[in-house]
C-alpha cells in the first residue's frame, strides 16, 4: 500500500480496509486480519492500526469479538458508502469544483468522460 501525503495514516489505513470490503474481498462476518498482521504488512505501528479499527468500529463498519478479533459488520458496505460520500462531498468535491470553475467547465461536459471511464474500468 502506498501512503499519500495529505491524510493521517490511520485514516488512509481505514480507506484501505474499506476498499477490501467494497471489493467483496471480505464479506459480512468475515474476520479481518489481526492488528499485528496488518501492522507488519503495512509497515506501521500496531497502535496506529488499533486506532483505525476503533475508528471503523465507531461507524459500525467492523465489530469486535473480545479475544478473537475484528469482524466485518452486516451492513458494512452500505455504511462505508455513506461515510465515503459524506467525506467526498466535504473534502474532495470543493477542490474538484474549483478546478472546473477555473477551467470554465459545466457539469454536462463531464458526462461522456464519466461514462467512458466507467466503461473502460469497471465493465
Amino acid at each position: 500500500m502506498e501512503f499519500k501525503e495529505s491524510q493521517a495514516i490511520y485514516l488512509q489505513i481505514a480507506d484501505h480496509l474499506c476498499e477490501q470490503i467494497l471489493l467483496d474481498k471480505w464479506k459480512p462476518d468475515d474476520r479481518i486480519p489481526s492488528v499485528r498482521e496488518l501492522a507488519v504488512q503495512l509497515e506501521v505501528n500496531p497502535n496506529t492500526v488499533m486506532r483505525t479499527c476503533e475508528y471503523l468500529q465507531q461507524y459500525d463498519i467492523i465489530y469486535n469479538k473480545r479475544g478473537i478479533g475484528y469482524f466485518v459488520s452486516e451492513n458494512a458496505s452500505k455504511k462505508i458508502i455513506q461515510l465515503k460520500k459524506e467525506r467526498f462531498l466535504a473534502n474532495e468535491l470543493p477542490q474538484f469544483f474549483r478546478n472546473m470553475y477555473l477551467l470554465d467547465m459545466e457539469l454536462d461536459e463531464l458526462k461522456p468522460h464519466y461514462e467512458k471511464y466507467k466503461k473502460s474500468n469497471f465493465k
Partner: protein, 277 residues
C-alpha cells in the same frame, strides 16, 4: 518503564550536555528520539543503558538505577549502538556466547528475523558488510525479548529493501510489555512506526507528544499562498507550493511530516508548547 529525573551531565566542565532533563517513557510504545547533531541523543540512550552515569539526578529503567547495571536490569535491556563491535565468530557461536545472558531469548524468532533480512548464517561475522552485521545485531536485539529495546540510528547503513524489512520486524515486535526507543535522523524511514515523538535540544527535552495529539493539534499541508494558511508555525517552499505547519483549527487530521514537525519545534518552541498545553 524508563524514568529520568533532573538529569545533568557534561563531558567537559562548563559545557553541559543535559541540565535538569526529565523524561518518562512507558511500555507499549515506540519512541522516536530526534535532535540535531550533538544535541545528546546517543548520550541520552547511553544513560538509559547504564553506559554513561548521571552527574546529577537519576535515570531509572524498570525501577533499577541504570548506573548500577544490576543483572536484572541488564537481562531486560538491549541496546543497538550506532558503532558496534562483533567478534570474529559465526552466528551460531555468537548466539551460544551471548544468548544465555537473556532468559527470554528466542532462537526461533532470531532465525526468522535473519531470514527476513536474508542474512547467510554460515559466514563469520567479521566477513560481513556493515549493513549485514547491523541486521544480525538488530535480529539478535529483537530476539532477546527484553522489556527495553534501545536503538541508535538503526536504519543507518541499511540498503533500500532492508528498510522495509526493518519496519516489518519492528511492527511485529511491538507489545504491551515492551518499550522501544529509536534515535534517528532518517525520520522518513520510520515515520509510520514511531507513535511518540521526543525532541531533545538545548540540554532538555523540548517536545514529547504522541502522534494522536500531534494529529489533533497541528496541521501539515501544502498551500499555494502562505498568507491563506492562517497562523503558520513553519513553512518550507518548493515548486509544488509551500509546505506549512499550522495550528489545526478545522478538525481535519493530516499526515504528520516529522521533518516539518522537527523544524517547527526547533524554531518555535514556545508557540508549540503553548498549543500543546
Amino acid at each position: 518503564m524508563i524514568s529520568i529525573q533532573n538529569l545533568s551531565f557534561s563531558y567537559r566542565k562548563n559545557k553541559p550536555l543535559f541540565e535538569g532533563l526529565d523524561l518518562n517513557l512507558e511500555a507499549g510504545y515506540i519512541y522516536g528520539l530526534l535532535g540535531k547533531n550533538g544535541a545528546g541523543k546517543s548520550s541520552l540512550l547511553k544513560q538509559m543503558a547504564g553506559l554513561l552515569f548521571p552527574q546529577g539526578g537519576v535515570c531509572k529503567v524498570m525501577g533499577y538505577e541504570a548506573r548500577y547495571r544490576q543483572p536484572d536490569f541488564l537481562r531486560n535491556l538491549f541496546m543497538v549502538p550506532e558503532e558496534f563491535y562483533l567478534p570474529q565468530v559465526r552466528i551460531n557461536n555468537y548466539v551460544k556466547a551471548y544468548a544465555p545472558f537473556y532468559p527470554d531469548f528466542s532462537n526461533t524468532s532470531f532465525r526468522e528475523y535473519l531470514e527476513e533480512f536474508q542474512i547467510p548464517t554460515d559466514q563469520r561475522l567479521t566477513e560481513m558488510s556493515y549493513g549485514q552485521k547491523k541486521k544480525v545485531l538488530i535480529s539478535f536485539a529483537l530476539a532477546t525479548n527484553t522489556k527495553a529495546l534501545i536503538m541508535d540510528e538503526p536504519t543507518n547503513g541499511l540498503d533500500i529493501p532492508s528498510k522495509s524489512q526493518f519496519r516489518k520486524v519492528i511492527a511485529a515486535a511491538v507489545s504491551e510489555e515492551k518499550c522501544i526507543v529509536i534515535s534517528t535522523h532518517q525520520v522518513r524511514d520510520l515515520d509510520n512506526l514511531i507513535d511518540n515523538i521526543v525532541i531533545i535540544d538545548n540540554h532538555k527535552i523540548i517536545f514529547r507528544q504522541d502522534v494522536d495529539a500531534v494529529n489533533d493539534k497541528l496541521s501539515f499541508k501544502t498551500v499555494s499562498n502562505v498568507e491563506d494558511a492562517g497562523s503558520v508555525l513553519y513553512a518550507n517552499s518548493s515548486l509544488r507550493g509551500h509546505a506549512v505547519v499550522t495550528e489545526n483549527t478545522d478538525k481535519e487530521q493530516s499526515r504528520i511530516d516529522m521533518e516539518m514537525l522537527f523544524n517547527a519545534v526547533l524554531e518555535q518552541p514556545e508557540r508549540i508548547s503553548k498549543i500543546f498545553n
